[in-house]
């Protein structure tokens, strides 16, 4: 096994140790101490940037959610307001119509009763006229048929009795 037998040669161990010290020293100081921290710093910076960007994106997402929520609330509120305005207008219109209808109704009723009164008056006057004409006619008829003159008041009473039962 050369690993053991070469110890007999005076240069073997010294050269091995010298060169591993030199090369590993180079690797440690130049690569391990010199380059590795810079690479790690790059990785850390990237990780931090990714984390920051993610946080920013999350915040933006939350803000968008809030905005959407407030928009929804606003639109709900305005929809409710519009609905209320519509129902109010409808109610007012219905009430107005009712009021106007009532007024028209009373006017019509007044007119109707006035007309009725007129009709009644006309009827009574017509009735009275008919009575006097009928009494006169009855007096004439009686005088023509029997030659008896009856007093106008008697004829009137007799006609009244017939007309009014």
């Amino acid at each position: 096994m050369p690993q053991i037998s070469q110890f007999a040669e005076s240069w073997y161990a010294a050269s091995q140790i010298f060169w591993v010290l030199l090369t590993f020293g180079f690797v440690f100081f130049v690569i391990g101490r010199g380059m590795l921290p810079k690479i790690e710093a790059t990785v850390d910076a990237r990780d931090r940037k990714v984390a920051d960007d993610l946080a920013a994106a999350k915040a933006a997402h939350a803000a968008a959610d809030n905005l959407e929520e407030s928009y929804r609330q606003q639109s709900d509120a305005s929809r409710a307001a519009a609905q209320k305005a519509i129902t109010d207008a409808k109610d007012k219109a219905a009430k107005d119509a009712e009021k106007r209808l009532a007024k028209v109704d009373t006017e019509l009723a007044d007119k109707l009763s006035a007309a009725e009164a007129d009709v009644n008056a006309a009827r009574t006057s017509a009735m009275a006229e008919i009575e006097s004409v009928a009494a006169e006619a009855a007096g004439d008829l009686v005088a023509k048929l029997s030659g008896v003159k009856i007093a106008a008041a008697d004829a009137k009473a007799a006609v009244k009795a017939v007309l009014h039962g």
Binding site: M1, Q3, S15, F26, V27, M35, I39
Partner: protein, 259 residues
């Protein structure tokens, strides 16, 4: 390949001296094949990491690959130690990437291009150095943060008083075994895997040498196994690097948080 045209499965682990450099005491320090592959691994790692340094907010493919590795280790440190683990991420990341690169380079079929590949992590001088380094850091961090209170690591919560003579001893032994298990695990896994592959490769060569019938009968199943084992070894290369880094992070967690 060793003498008489035989395949020596251990030859691949031999470190070749490329040129001399200087002396430390009576020890000679030379540039070796092992050193060459460590330098190549370090440079490849450096080039790979440069691709991750564009620091774009939206990363390209290369940057994603680099950030995948760094994220893997920093995630592991975070899970095992907590936020304080970030301080030790550079060390564990360097450890993981260096071992992974050495393991994978050792598996590359560079022999096809005339290059002699070599698995640096199959030498316990290397794995031992890294293990002792990890263990030392654990000790330093532990005593630095907790002082002598660090010894309470050897008395786990809920130890009955009548076992106080035994549990700390067991805990101490298991604590002291850590650098050895750390070093040996990687060294043995790499060595065993490469020996296995070399043995199967030698089956094919020896089979062909014994004639076409034996060559086909032995060669085809051996080749099929080689393909499977190569895939398995790639997996082991990753897993061993991961285990080394994971155990280091767990030991560091002991030192930082004391159980």
């Amino acid at each position: 390949m060793a003498d008489q045209g035989k395949v020596d499965p251990m030859h691949q682990f031999e470190v070749q001296k490329m040129f001399d450099m200087f002396h430390v005491g009576n020890h000679e320090v030379a540039f070796t094949t092992s050193a060459m592959w460590m330098v190549i691994a370090g440079l490849l790692l450096w080039v790979f990491m440069i691709g991750g340094m564009k620091r774009q907010l939206v990363p390209g493919r290369w940057q994603v690959a680099v950030e995948g590795f760094t994220g893997f280790i920093s995630g592991m440190m975070n899970a095992n130690i907590g936020p304080e683990g970030r301080k030790y991420t550079p060390y564990v990341f360097s450890l993981f990437m260096f071992i992974l690169m050495l393991n994978v380079i050792g598996l590359m079929p560079l022999g096809l291009f005339g290059v002699h590949p070599f698995t640096v992590t199959s030498h316990f001088t290397i794995t031992g150095f890294l293990a002792i380094l990890s263990f030392s850091i654990v000790l330093i961090v532990g005593f630095w943060r907790h002082g002598l209170h660090f010894f309470s690591l050897f008395v786990p919560h809920g130890t009955p008083w009548w076992l106080l003579w035994l549990i700390p001893v067991i805990e101490l032994v298991s604590f002291l075994v850590r650098p050895f298990s750390l070093a040996l695990r990687l060294f043995v896994a790499m060595t065993a895997g490469h020996v296995l592959m070399k043995v199967f490769a030698s089956f094919i060569i020896d089979g062909i040498a014994a004639g076409p019938a034996v060559g086909l009968g032995v060669g085809i199943p051996s080749m099929a196994l080689m393909v499977g084992i190569s895939g398995l070894e790639l997996l082991v290369a990753g897993i061993q690097a991961y285990v080394f880094a994971l155990l280091t992070s767990l030991y560091l967690n002991d030192a930082v948080n004391l159980h």
